[in-house]
């Protein structure tokens, strides 16, 4: 990495044009978003993020710790968040599996933080150095119990920078671990990344509680169903537990409290989905076929779309910037207007299940599967577009 010049007045935001890979850009996005606590464990292909953080944090007033495993890393960032820092960890599939338990604790205790998964091929140790998009359903359902998540999927190093900032903002806004679903190709792809001036970066701060200390209830939420937060050490004498709890944060082990507690965790995301969901659409009006894609598969899809248009096929694109919550209302709307929705993804059908569910038989839905290890051949996507246009 290129260390900032000593003469640079502020090493925090490296304003300017850079040539960075996705992993490095993600680390810079975290720093720009105000992340100052990082706990992680080395794992390919995410390690470069930890390396960049380890190198950069001493220059920007952050604390980096390499933990003994991913269980510890995830637990540590939850502690870091309650200590009052913006916190992040990074991993890949095997580590993501180990983090699931404490991602659940983060969901239950409503702890803002960002978990980056630079996906590789699985199951198990799988393809450590080669790409995959096989943890998409694990991101949604990997921890036990009922909950909703927010997950984003960048398609370029520039987006690794921009969307890491978005991920931190969403985690603070809605108080939950936000999952940043990169993949090996995007993580190791090197492109131009423009870092804007610090004042142009939309940093969202924590929802600090501002009322009187005596009346603070850790889980009393306003109309948006998200409670305000305090940090440890400010004498609020909070109790925070992974058990089902009431507004005081006290454990209450019965069905009535479970209903209130879990419903709010789910509803705060579902009710605000309109504010959370980000899609990037192109030429969908009047299209016969729409390619729905995310991450590196979007980059391949753009080539296939260009080839299809050269053949005269009316094809549009919907890119899932947030993969969770799934934009089901938009997909349902499109399904009533097009002949087919086509989805390339580097797995054997994960987000495709959501696509089918949202389309509800209104149009054809075509999966272009891939077991992982490499990206799709654009011709395979093109063939599916041709099939959909029939």
């Amino acid at each position: 990495m290129s260390r900032p010049k000593p003469s640079q007045p502020d090493a925090t935001v490296l304003t300017g044009a850079h040539y960075l890979d996705g992993d490095e850009a993600c680390a810079e996005g975290a720093i720009a978003a105000g992340c100052r606590f990082f706990a992680g464990y080395p794992i390919t292909p995410s390690t470069e993020i930890a390396e960049r953080i380890a190198s950069r944090f001493p220059l920007v007033g952050g604390t980096f710790i390499q933990m003994e495993d991913e269980l510890a890393s995830m637990a540590a960032i939850l502690g870091g968040a309650w200590g009052g820092a913006k916190a992040m960890t990074v991993t890949s599939g095997p580590g993501f599996s180990l983090m699931m338990e404490n991602i659940g604790l983060g969901i239950m205790t409503e702890t803002p933080c960002v978990v980056v998964n630079v996906q590789r091929g699985g199951p198990s140790t799988g393809l450590p150095t080669l790409t995959g998009q096989q943890d998409m359903m694990q991101a949604r359902w990997g921890s036990h119990g009922d909950y909703e998540v927010i997950a984003l999927s960048p398609s370029s190093p520039q987006e690794c920078f921009d969307l890491t900032i978005t991920a931190f903002g969403l985690s603070e806004r809605y108080r939950l671990p936000v999952l940043f679903m990169m993949d090996e190709c995007v993580g190791h792809m090197t492109e131009k990344v423009v870092i804007p001036p610090a004042e142009d970066i939309p940093v969202i701060e924590r929802r600090w509680y501002r009322g009187p200390k005596e009346s603070y209830l850790p889980y009393q939420a306003g109309p948006d169903k998200v409670p305000d937060m305090v940090r440890a050490g400010d004498d609020y004498r909070i109790h925070i537990t992974g058990l089902t709890h009431d507004e005081r944060g006290y454990p209450v082990i019965n069905a009535a409290c479970q209903s209130v507690c879990v419903s709010r965790l789910v509803d705060k995301i579902r009710d605000n989905a309109g504010d959370i969901v980000i899609t990037d659409e192109e030429a969908v009006d009047g299209a016969d076929v729409v390619v729905v894609s995310y991450g590196i598969s979007y980059r391949v899809a753009t080539r296939a779309i260009a080839l299809a248009r050269a053949e005269g096929i009316k094809v549009g694109s919907v890119r899932l910037v947030t993969v969770w919550p799934f934009p089901e209302a938009r997909i349902a709307e499109l399904s009533r207007k097009v002949k087919a929705l086509v989805m390339p993804e580097i797995n054997l059908g994960q987000m495709y299940r959501e696509l089918q569910r949202a389309a509800a038989g209104n149009c054809r839905t075509l999966l272009i599967p891939h077991c992982g290890g490499w990206v799709h051949d654009p011709n395979d996507v093109l063939a599916a577009i041709r099939e959909g246009a029939k």
Binding site: P58, G62, E68, D69, L71, N102, W208, G233, I238, H239
Partner: protein, 305 residues
């Protein structure tokens, strides 16, 4: 527990209702606790609260983190910032809390199964780093919350639901484990040794670095009953008869056998730079004048930083 409720005699002096001195430190709206009669956990919690009051750390800076199990419920009763985390992960959670706000005095209060079995990896690494925190490990020789299964501290021969013919595993000698990993304060008492435990906990809370206090505690409901060891009171008699105070004992010699002697005392007390000390010193040296020390937690609503 004193519960002297007096009604003032007509014309006599007004006597206020007498309160237990620990009430301000307990979440009284959560009392009674869930622990069994004659379980040692209440005693250990009382000693911890007394130690908080006597420690040199301001109350607001005291933070307690627990894992899962009977002992894991401790965090829910203490009226300070308290975190009840996942099984085995109290230590890494506490590590994050401490590093994000180094002003905090973080105490991990958990059981032997939580800290030494499922959380064993975190225990040895927190000790190795000399992470500046206190660990109170209440050892009742079994998994009590789930009904009495054997664990990594169960003495050989003791019977439990998953060791119906007696445990045949070699147990951990916990003080030796954490000592060998780098803990800079290591002590052990039983729940009978109230005064000694309080003094030790005050020392542990005031210690800079990783301080570890093991407390041997009766589990009358499952461990004692299944092994025909009598009531909680009988176990305290056993502690009285079998405990041997040996300050500075070589931790290799303090293993506990079934119905055997229990060596107690302060075994280890040494000075060594903490994780934060070594981090700041090393980065200050290597990075030079560009080094920016951790800026502390984000500014909260009341302006504290």
């Amino acid at each position: 527990m004193s519960e002297l409720l007096t009604t003032p005699a007509p014309g006599g002096p007004v006597v206020e209702e007498e309160r237990h001195p620990h009430e301000p430190f307990l979440r009284m709206d959560r009392i009674p606790h869930i622990w069994c009669s004659t379980c040692g956990l209440g005693t250990v919690l009382n000693c911890y609260i007394t130690a908080i009051q006597r420690s040199s750390v301001p109350r607001a800076d005291h933070t307690i983190v627990s894992g899962i199990g009977c002992t894991g419920r401790a965090a829910g009763y203490v009226k300070i910032d308290s975190f009840h985390t996942t099984h085995g992960r109290a230590l890494p959670f506490a590590t994050g809390l401490k590093l994000a706000n180094p002003r905090l005095k973080v105490t991990v209060f958990s059981g032997d199964g939580d800290l030494v079995a499922i959380g064993g990896n975190h225990l040895i690494h927190a000790a190795r780093r000399n992470m500046d925190m206190t660990v109170i490990c209440v050892n009742n020789f079994n998994y009590a919350m789930t009904g009495g299964q054997f664990g990594p501290t169960t003495p050989e021969g003791a019977k439990l639901t998953t060791a119906p013919y007696g445990s045949y595993e070699h147990p951990f000698n916990i003080p030796f484990l954490v000592d060998s990993c780098g803990a800079t304060y290591v002590a052990r008492w039983t729940s009978l040794h109230v005064r000694e435990m309080i003094e030790t906990l005050v020392e542990a809370l005031n210690h800079r670095g990783f301080s570890f206090v093991e407390v041997i505690s009766p589990c009358p409901t499952v461990y004692a009953r299944r092994n025909r060891l009598g009531t909680g009171l009988d176990l305290l008699k056993y502690y009285h008869d079998s405990a041997e105070v040996r300050h500075g004992a070589d931790t290799r010699d303090v293993d506990i056998s079934f119905k055997g002697r229990i060596i107690v005392g302060r075994f280890v007390q040494r000075c060594k730079p903490t994780y934060l000390d070594t981090m700041d010193a090393a980065l200050g040296r290597s990075v030079g004048k560009e080094f920016v020390c951790y800026e502390g937690p984000m500014q909260a609503s009341d302006g504290r930083s």
